[in-house]
């Protein structure tokens, strides 16, 4: 049984309320940080902990914080990115909905470290009811003196505001989020300047994921070095994984990054295997935008090692034979699912969510969707597969923000690993309407290392 840090108290009755949360040891980290540590010492603890951003990119949080420009007389901001819109990812929702005080607690400590007197939670528009939960939690915290002026007599002022988005995936991109927070159209900004230098209202800003900020609580409580002992290598601490798709027990799980992918899918403690005796065909291990992997490459890396649930192992093999930890949206696909249809669904999502600012993404995502629809409905031809490959290659890396990459990668990976299935859709257009390609050879043991 892996260690739990964030969800340890998740099942305590009424943990959502301040009284219960405080009784269970809540807000200890704020007391410790504000009374015994300086802001730089908090940052130092975060650096020691090796905490990596939980939003998808996995960038070391301590390093990100140390990039924050600190000019005199200019306010600095902490913005928590709660615009969790990636298909398959719902870990932050769980955290905010059931233990909102954990986020508030982490935010106070983080704001103290960064010197942010006004911190924001930018929450996804569709999470309307969570906004109320968070606002209630903030109000409770304020009444008990954890927010406001001169917190715990330390001279540090902090207030937290919740801002709801209007339902756009793109506003989860940090600069688009800042634009939206400023009340503008949610178009990503061109970097540089980075938010750490010029962010919200032109001031230095740190944008962190909900889970990252919540992880501050155990880091301060236990110390950065203790936190770093959990996990393996550079994947320290615990990670929330939102498992969904064809599994017996979908939900949010906290793992300590030392278990294997196979264990995560099949053990009863986690996903509990695949229902109705079906077989594992493919999996997207980190939310819709990371490359999909066939069963054989998912359980073992191209080198033949067991694939573990951590940043390095999931990325082993690069994009040729690996994937990414991403935001932890673990989507399992069984042998009754069609990869072409699945890829079409993702392409449709990205077309719908593209902001339309830069041309490759605006035009390319729609084009890919249409070609995939043709392939799926048996109207495609074999040159369409090469065309798709060419389009995704021209989108990837040529756009302002990572949405272009996020739209290109799933298509690229699907063609890379499931080309047979695409070709079968072309060669058997009528049959493809009636049945699925099935498992085929996607779970066969790898004979030779994939180049």
């Amino acid at each position: 049984m892996g260690r739990k840090l964030l969800l340890e108290k998740a099942h305590v009755e009424n943990i959502r309320s301040y009284e219960v949360y405080r009784k269970e040891g809540g807000y200890r980290s704020v007391e410790k940080a504000l009374k015994t540590l300086s802001p730089d010492q908090v940052t130092e603890e975060v650096k020691k902990s090796g905490l990596r951003g939980r939003g998808g990119a996995g960038f070391p949080t301590g390093m990100k914080w140390s990039f924050l420009a600190k000019p005199e007389g200019v306010p600095r901001y902490l913005v928590v990115n709660a615009d969790e819109s990636e298909p398959g990812t719902f870990k932050d929702r769980y955290l905010m909905e059931f233990i909102p005080h954990l986020l508030i607690e982490g935010m106070i400590t983080s704001s103290y470290a960064l010197g942010s007197n006004r911190s924001y939670i930018y929450i996804r528009g569709e999470y309307a009811w969570i906004t109320h939960i968070l606002e209630q939690a903030i109000e409770e915290a304020r009444q008990h003196g954890w927010l406001g002026k001169n917190i715990l007599g330390s001279g540090f002022d902090c207030d937290i505001y919740v801002q709801r988005g209007a339902g756009a995936y793109i506003c989860g991109e940090e600069t688009a989020l800042l634009e939206s927070l400023e009340g503008k159209r949610g178009n990503p900004r061109i970097k540089p300047p980075f938010p750490a230098v010029k962010g919200l209202w032109g001031c230095p800003t740190v944008v962190n994921n909900v889970e990252t900020v919540a992880a501050l609580v155990p880091i301060i409580n236990e110390g950065g070095e203790e936190y770093a002992k959990i996990g393996v290598g550079k994947s320290t601490g615990t990670k929330l994984i939102s498992a969904c798709g064809n599994i017996n027990k979908p939900g949010v799980y906290e793992i300590d990054m030392t278990i294997s992918v196979e264990e995560f899918i099949y053990s009863d403690e986690y996903c509990g295997g695949i229902p109705q005796g079906k077989k594992l065909k493919a999996c997207i291990p980190g939310g819709s935008s990371v490359p999909i992997l066939p069963a054989n490459l998912l359980l073992k890396t191209a080198k033949g090692e067991t694939r573990m649930m951590n940043y390095e192992s999931l990325a082993d093999g690069g994009f040729a034979s690996g994937s990414m930890m991403g935001s932890g949206g673990f989507i399992v696909i069984d042998d009754s699912q069609c990869v072409v249809r699945h890829t079409y669904t993702l392409a449709r999502f990205y077309r719908h969510e593209s902001c339309g600012q830069c041309s490759p993404c605006r035009e390319g995502t729609g084009w890919m969707e249409k070609i995939l629809w043709n392939l799926e409905t048996g109207k495609g031809c074999s040159s369409d597969i090469d065309l798709l490959w060419d389009i995704q290659r021209k989108i990837e890396g040529n756009t302002i923000c990572p949405l272009g990459d996020a739209a290109a990668w799933p298509v690229a990976a699907a063609i890379r690993h499931f080309r047979d299935e695409f070709e079968w859709h072309v060669t058997h257009p009528e049959e493809a309407q009636k049945r699925n390609f099935g498992l085929a050879h996607y779970a066969d043991p790898l004979t030779a290392p994939v180049a």
């Binding site: 077309r351 719908h352 593209s354 041309s359 390319g364 021209k394 040529n398």
Partner: protein
């Protein structure tokens, strides 16, 4: 004095396609390339040097940075938008010498043309359209797109400006014009993704004295002049520099004439298709000059405009026109042909005296003659 020294730091050296230039700090790669000029300059569809904050959107100006700077010579992993990337000392940039750039740019051109209606034959912008030039220079022939093009409902945005949303490439230039030239922007980009469109909120007329500059900055035919609509093709009109005393603007314009008639008035443009600057200020013109002064007598005419833009409109050689001094006889080496079909010297026609042809010269026996002589 001390302030002046601070303001002028040492110039930075940047090498673009093996050509090294020195530019002041803060210059973008695109502007450094414009100093060199010629093929080395990346095309720009959305960047407009006179509009603050423009650029970075169309991705046609992508270049490869082979070395970031002298201090840190690592290459940048991705292609960068040259219009928004500032140069560092010792930076090495590849534009036309990079295959990656050429391929990515051809890809961007293809993307831009996917949903473009290609109605150039009826488009008033044809001839001075940046997208035409871009497609001609960097695009590939043919398209691989086999679906219906995206279309928009027509929208009336006032009596002087025609909006053709289908042609728009969403460069955002017109929104910057409205932001930076006028008090109150009433139009902008609505919706998102491939159905994002320029529109007013909601169906308002764009009514202010500098709105006409949106036409000048539009790189395509999405915003055109209603007073010039379908009047003429731009390459048939004669551009003439003119000015008048205008209380609102600089009053320096280009008249596009056919005979003595003034068909269209625009701001004067430089070789990048941007409005020219006078004493560091962009020469935007007001709507009175643009739409209401349509008689040659309203203007003091300065002379033909010199157009050095890389476009078909530069083909009207009204400047530096030289009348031939030689007679036909001199040019033709003593021959004095009766039939002046083609004075090109490889043409066989002019080497013959018609009277020397056996019988009446027809196309049939003329052909026989020439094949025999070969």
């Amino acid at each position: 004095m001390a302030d002046e020294i601070k303001k002028a730091p040492a110039p930075l050296k940047v090498t673009i396609d093996n050509i090294t230039v020195e530019v002041p700090a803060g210059t973008t790669i695109l502007n450094a390339a414009r100093q060199i000029g010629g093929d080395v300059t990346p095309p720009a569809m959305c960047y407009y040097s006179k509009l603050e904050g423009s650029g970075g959107k169309c991705r046609t100006c992508l270049v490869e940075v082979a070395a970031g700077s002298a201090a840190d010579p690592r290459p940048m992993p991705k292609l960068v938008a040259s219009c928004r990337t500032t140069v560092m000392d010792g930076m090495v940039v590849k534009n036309i010498t990079s295959e990656r750039v050429q391929e990515a740019r051809a890809g961007v051109v293809e993307f831009l043309l996917l949903n473009h209606p290609l109605d150039c034959p009826v488009c008033d912008q044809a001839g001075e359209c940046h997208l035409q030039d871009l497609g001609y220079e960097h695009g590939k022939e043919g398209t691989r797109y086999q679906f219906d093009r995206r279309t928009f409902e027509k929208e009336d945005i006032g009596p002087t400006i025609q909006l053709h949303m289908n042609r728009c490439i969403l460069c955002y230039r017109c929104t910057y014009v409205a932001d930076q030239l006028t008090d109150n922007r009433v139009h902008g980009v609505l919706d998102r993704g491939d159905h994002a469109n320029i529109s007013t909120h909601i169906s308002k007329a764009i009514d202010n004295n500098f709105s006409g500059n949106m036409i000048d900055v539009c790189p395509v035919g999405a915003l055109t002049d209603k007073t010039f609509r379908f009047k003429n093709r731009v390459w048939f009109t004669k551009p003439v520099d003119a000015h008048r005393d205008c209380p609102d603007c600089c009053g320096k314009v280009t008249l596009w004439q056919r005979g003595d008639e003034v068909l269209r008035v625009t701001a004067r443009k430089d070789e990048w298709g941007e409005v020219q600057s006078y004493e560091g200020k962009p020469g935007w013109i007001c709507n009175t000059c643009r739409f209401e002064k349509k008689a040659a007598t309203d203007w003091v005419i300065e002379g033909p405009t010199s157009i050095n833009r890389h476009s078909v409109i530069s083909q009207g050689h009204y400047l530096g026109l030289q009348k031939p001094k030689e007679t036909i006889q001199e040019v033709m080496g003593g021959l004095n042909p009766r039939l002046l079909m083609d004075i090109h010297d490889v043409s066989e026609v002019n080497k013959l005296e018609l009277s020397q042809l056996p019988g009446a010269a027809t196309s049939a026996n003329y052909k026989n003659e020439s094949t025999k002589s070969e």
